[in-house]
């Protein structure tokens, strides 16, 4: 089904190329129709074929390797960001569950932050690279990308985990009370397991967020090595080599799908014993 959908997209693309205005067109006076010529919109098979060709006319090695290497670079950063963000989010959720004051003071900000374009901070964070020194530690540029990914990822994790931690049924909490269980014991034996169905969708959001953070960090400042930079570079060469940029775009898509795949595996592992569907 998914393959069929992709095929449909490809067919629509070619259809537009065939029927659409070669130099762009207007609808009611607005020039909203894209150019359908081969430079602006390469054929689908040209895009796929481009993978086999080298990056530059003379250097060896098909471009698929270059794109894969870029995607791998970005993937590692996204993973690092995801892990960092998840850990911080979990810790913050526990803090908020423990101290209601913290929850009441902090949660509104966390919820608000999900409506605000935090990635506006991306260029600022990346600019710390190479210039910030904390003691003997010099801030590498790639760390900014990971930190940005972590920053975007930790908000949904914190909010979702908190909801989960406070979702334990009252009867179970009374039960733990009747056992004279400490807050820590209740946290690990009751609240955390009860939070897992809430954590699952939060982790999915966090995975997407970390990819977005890393890619935006890369493109807003041209951080070398990642797939974002490749997209920018290849886009510049689009007049000469129109199909090139698509290789990197699909690479970025693969990156997102891989992250989603990782999280899906984690979801599966966590929800093994549960009969009900994850809470959406």
């Amino acid at each position: 089904m998914f393959g069929l959908a992709l095929l449909l997209v490809a067919v629509s693309w070619e259809l537009y190329k065939w029927l659409g205005p070669q130099d762009g067109g207007t609808v009611f006076g607005w020039s909203v129709l894209p150019r359908a010529n081969d430079r602006a919109m390469p054929h689908v098979w040209e895009m796929l074929a481009r993978y086999a060709e080298p990056e530059r006319r003379d250097t060896g090695g098909p471009i698929v390797l270059v794109v894969a290497a870029g995607a791998w670079f970005s993937l590692r950063l996204a993973l690092a960001g995801f892990v960092m963000g998840t850990l911080v989010g979990l810790a913050l959720a526990v803090l908020m569950a423990r101290f209601r004051v913290v929850e009441r003071g902090l949660l509104p900000w966390l919820v608000l932050s999900q409506t605000v374009p935090l990635i506006a901070l991306a260029p600022l964070v990346v600019s710390w690279g190479g210039r910030l020194h904390l003691g003997a530690f010099e801030w590498p540029r790639w760390l900014s990308a990971a930190v940005l990914g972590a920053f975007l990822a930790f908000f949904p994790v914190a909010v979702g985990t908190l909801r989960g931690l406070t979702s334990a049924p009252a009867a179970s909490l009374e039960l733990m009370d009747s056992y004279a269980a400490s807050w820590r014991q209740t946290l690990f034996k009751l609240r955390f397991p009860a939070a897992v169905p809430y954590l699952v969708p939060a982790l999915r959001l966090a995975a997407t967020a970390s990819v977005v953070g890393v890619v935006v960090a890369e493109i807003s400042t041209g951080l070398a090595g990642g797939v974002g930079r490749l997209i920018i570079e290849y886009a510049r060469e689009a007049t000469a080599d129109p199909a090139k940029v698509y290789t990197a775009v699909f690479g970025a898509a693969a990156l997102g799908l891989l992250m989603a795949g990782f999280v899906a595996l984690a979801d599966f592992a966590m929800m093994r014993n549960r009969p009900r569907e994850a809470i959406e």
Partner: protein, 263 residues
């Protein structure tokens, strides 16, 4: 030494504020070891509150609660009682056996000992092959049996139950009542049992404590005139119906003045 001693107990919620509620006043109750005592009364009479005061999940406003001769707080720390609620409150992510092991884990028992005790308890509640099953795979009655097994896992002398069979259908309920009596006989456990059902209270108990609301207090304590061994014939015995009638009339006697009707 009594299993439970309640003296001069009263509980006021939101004391000092405009929405203060006197849930219980002047409760005096003594329960001997081996007794099965039911608390029955209309909504708002404080029976669940009283149970939670015995369990030390709430603090009394005045008076004292002694369990096993100790203050209720100490009894809770020493795990001198087990508790069962209307919702089985099993942890859905744990297997049946691991659910039963929960109180033992918290007390620091080692793994082999816990396993052994859990299997014993499963035998006791007649669910020996269900150790590795998950709660959602069990019926309501079976889940409650697991909850009872968990409540008794540490072999406490006292069992506190808050309408544990309320969510079950009538036939399962009667079956569970028999199971509960058998289990308590085999383990010599004292039971304090909160219920809404008059036949259930009479069938299970040695004494029935009738309570009334606004504010909650004990209006009468009725001795049940039935032999300790009970079965389906007991449900059809005259003494049973007499007991049910006695309890019902005690409950009705507390309707609004002049109405003589049930609440």
């Amino acid at each position: 030494m009594n299993a439970v001693d309640v003296r001069n107990l009263s509980k006021v919620f939101n004391q000092g504020r405009p929405n203060a509620v006197a849930a219980l006043i002047d409760i005096d109750l003594s329960i001997e070891p081996g007794e099965f005592v039911s608390l029955i009364g209309p909504s708002g009479c404080g029976k669940s509150t009283q149970l939670r005061l015995i369990a030390n999940l709430l603090e009394p406003t005045t008076g004292e609660v002694l369990v096993n001769g100790k203050p209720a707080g100490q009894a809770r720390l020493d795990q001198d009682y087990g508790m069962a609620f209307q919702q089985a409150a099993l942890f859905e992510w744990r297997s049946v056996a691991k659910n039963i092991e929960l109180p033992l884990e918290l007390k620091g028992w080692d793994k082999a000992e816990r396993r052994k005790r859990a299997l014993e308890m499963l035998d006791l509640v007649k669910l020996p092959e269900f150790g590795d099953a998950l709660p959602w795979q069990l019926s309501g009655g079976m889940q409650q049996r697991v909850a009872i097994a968990r409540a008794l896992a540490a072999h406490p002398p006292l069992l506190l139950m808050d309408e544990p069979f309320g969510a079950l259908d009538e036939m399962t309920r009667e079956h569970m009542q028999d199971e509960l009596l058998r289990i308590c006989r085999e383990t010599s456990t004292t039971v304090v049992f909160v219920t809404h059902s008059i036949p259930e209270a009479v069938y299970l108990s040695t004494r029935v404590v009738v309570m009334s609301p606004r504010p909650g207090r004990i209006t009468s304590v009725i001795d049940v005139d039935l032999p300790p061994e009970r079965d389906v014939r007991t449900r059809e015995a005259d003494a049973f119906f007499r007991g049910v009638t006695e309890v019902r009339e005690a409950l009705r006697g507390i309707g609004p003045a002049g109405s003589g009707g049930a609440p």
